[in-house]
Each structure stands twice: as C-alpha cells, then as structure tokens.
C-alpha cells in the first residue's frame, strides 16, 4: 500500500516536472543538460527545491531520475543526424554560435556528465561517440559556411 502511494507520488511529480518545466525547454538535449544539472556529483542524487516542497525530497529525486532516464533514452536512440539538429537547436537557444558550442564542448566534453547513473558502459560509450561525431559535423558545417562567403568574394 505504502509502495503504491509512493509510486503514485512519483508519477504525479514526474507529470508536474514534465508539464511545468520540461515542456518549456526546447529540445531534448537542453532537457538532458537541465536534468543532469540537478544531480549531485558526489551522491548521484537529484535535488529540486520546488518539487521537493510539493512532494517529498525522495519522491522528487525519483521523478527527476526517471525523467532523466527517459530523455537520455530518446537521445541515445536517435541518429547522428538528429543529434546534429539537437545541437544546432541547443546552440541557437543557449549560445552565441554553433561553432563556439562545438569548440567548447569538444574541449570540456560536458556531455559526459549527462549520462544517467544506471546507464551501461556500452550505452554510455555509444552516446559519447555519437555526440562527438555530431560535434565534428557541426564544426565542419561551420567551417564550410565560413569558407563559402570568402570564396564568393571577387578576386583581386
């Protein structure tokens, strides 16, 4: 009985998080970054003050973890082409340019900390490999875009 109530609570917290917060974030990649940012690096537990006030700390943590897994699964199973689109969307809404995002992410590799705790090493490596490829494509596209206007200029 207690477990059932707890499960219902987690479901309600999940819905609340999805409807009120995640729905307003554009793109799964941005959602993933947001959800991973609520995780404590040392304990692996999630914290969200508003959600914890409405429900309980434990229920809120479980709801965030569940949303994190769902978003990660969607990104894991999407193609590199879709990942490039996600990165472009993320860059448009969060950074100054795609090339800046590609450059900084290639160096800092922040996508590595977005992997859920329960994820297998194989799935984690697959995700990282896809993101790296998507970043390389983004960078190539930016380089191509920079070269095109130069080549369009009249010669001396």
């Amino acid at each position: 009985m207690h477990e059932e109530l707890k499960h219902e609570g987690v479901e309600a917290a999940r819905r609340d998080l999805a409807d009120r917060t995640l729905a307003k974030i554009r793109g799964d990649l941005a959602r993933l970054i947001y959800l991973a940012s609520m995780r404590d690096y040392n304990t692996g537990e999630y914290h969200h003050e508003g959600l914890a006030c409405m429900f309980t700390e434990s229920v809120a943590g479980k709801a965030i973890a569940s949303c994190h897994r769902d978003v990660f699964k969607r990104l894991l199973l999407c193609s590199v082409k879709e990942l490039v689109e996600q990165l472009e969307l993320y860059a448009r809404t969060n950074c100054s340019s795609s090339s800046e995002l590609a450059h900084v992410w290639a160096k800092l590799q922040p996508y590595r900390v977005t992997v859920p705790l329960e994820c297998s090493p194989l799935a984690s490596r697959f995700f990282v490999s896809n993101i790296k490829a998507a970043l390389a494509i983004l960078e190539s596209r930016q380089l191509g875009a920079h070269r095109e206007p130069q080549s369009a200029l009249p010669g001396p």
């Binding site: 193609s79 090493p121 490596r125 896809n130 494509i137």
Partner: protein
Amino acid sequence: MSAFAYFLMAAVAILGVCLLLSRRAGRRDFDREAYGTGQETFLLFGRDSVDSELSARIFDPEDLDFVAIETSRRNARQFRQERTALALDWLRAVRGQVNQSIRAHVRDARENAGLKPSDEIRLGFEFLLFQLSSGILYLVIWVCGPPRAAKLLGYSLKLAAQLRNVTEDVLPAGRYVGVELMDNKQEPRS
C-alpha cells in the same frame, strides 16, 4: 589439389580463427572492471526494449553513411573504428550472457533427474552453432565493420533466442540468465 581440399582447408582455417576469437572473447568475460558484469555491460536500464533498439542502432549503417558524407575522412574513420569496437563489445556481452545461461543450465541440470537426453543434445548442438556463428560474426565485424555484419547478426540472435527457449523448456523453473534479444521487428536495417 582438388577443390574439396581447398574448401576443407578454408573451413578449418575459419574454425580455427573462430575458436581463437571465441577464447579471446571468453577471457574478456572475466574482465569485470573494463566491461562490467555480464548484465550491466549489456543492459541499459534493466530488461526493456531499449537494449534491443540500442543493438539495432549499433549495427545500423545510417550513422556511418551520414558521418562519412558530412565530415572529414579522419573523423569518419575514427567514428567507424568506434562503432566497430562497440559492436565487438556488444557481441562479447551477448556471448557472455549466453555462456552464463549455459553454465547456469549445466549447474541446474546436475541436480535435475528428469532431464531428457534428446533435449540436452539439441541444446548442445545449438550452443555449438551459436558459438560458431558468433565467432564468424566477430570476424566479419572486425574485418568489414558492423553494417556488413547485420544480416549474420540476425541469424546469431535467432540462435541465441532458441538457446534461451531451450534452456527454459528443459528447466522451466530454471534460473536462466535472460538475454535481451531483438525480435523480428527490431532487426537492424541492412
């Protein structure tokens, strides 16, 4: 030398390589630190369809083609190498799980007096076929890359599924180790 002798030599060579690779893969099963325990290596979030979808994605040529078109040769080569390594690790994990289920079956069979010899022979034969096909699959992935191995993969997985069914049939209450396998709908596009 007759054509038959060449064929025999080729078959022996393939079998030898498969055996070598299979032993190598077997040794890696024990490398828990690098690859995790059998299940944790293969499974994503427990037993659900995501695992079979992930395997289909690993062997899907779509990403490799897209990366080859969109980026430099060096990046495309690196991506291909990463995919090959992932496919090989995935295969090791599947083999590890099948081996684990067979070991569990052998353990349980020792305590079970009502076993049928015909079922055991069938299981042994299918296990041998699985070892052979997965050994060839390992070789094909290693040499040609994951997309080319996709067709053979379907056959190996069908055998693994049969093995699972046989271990379940022989010991209905047995403690088999589940292997998440692709069903026909989720076979990789080749």
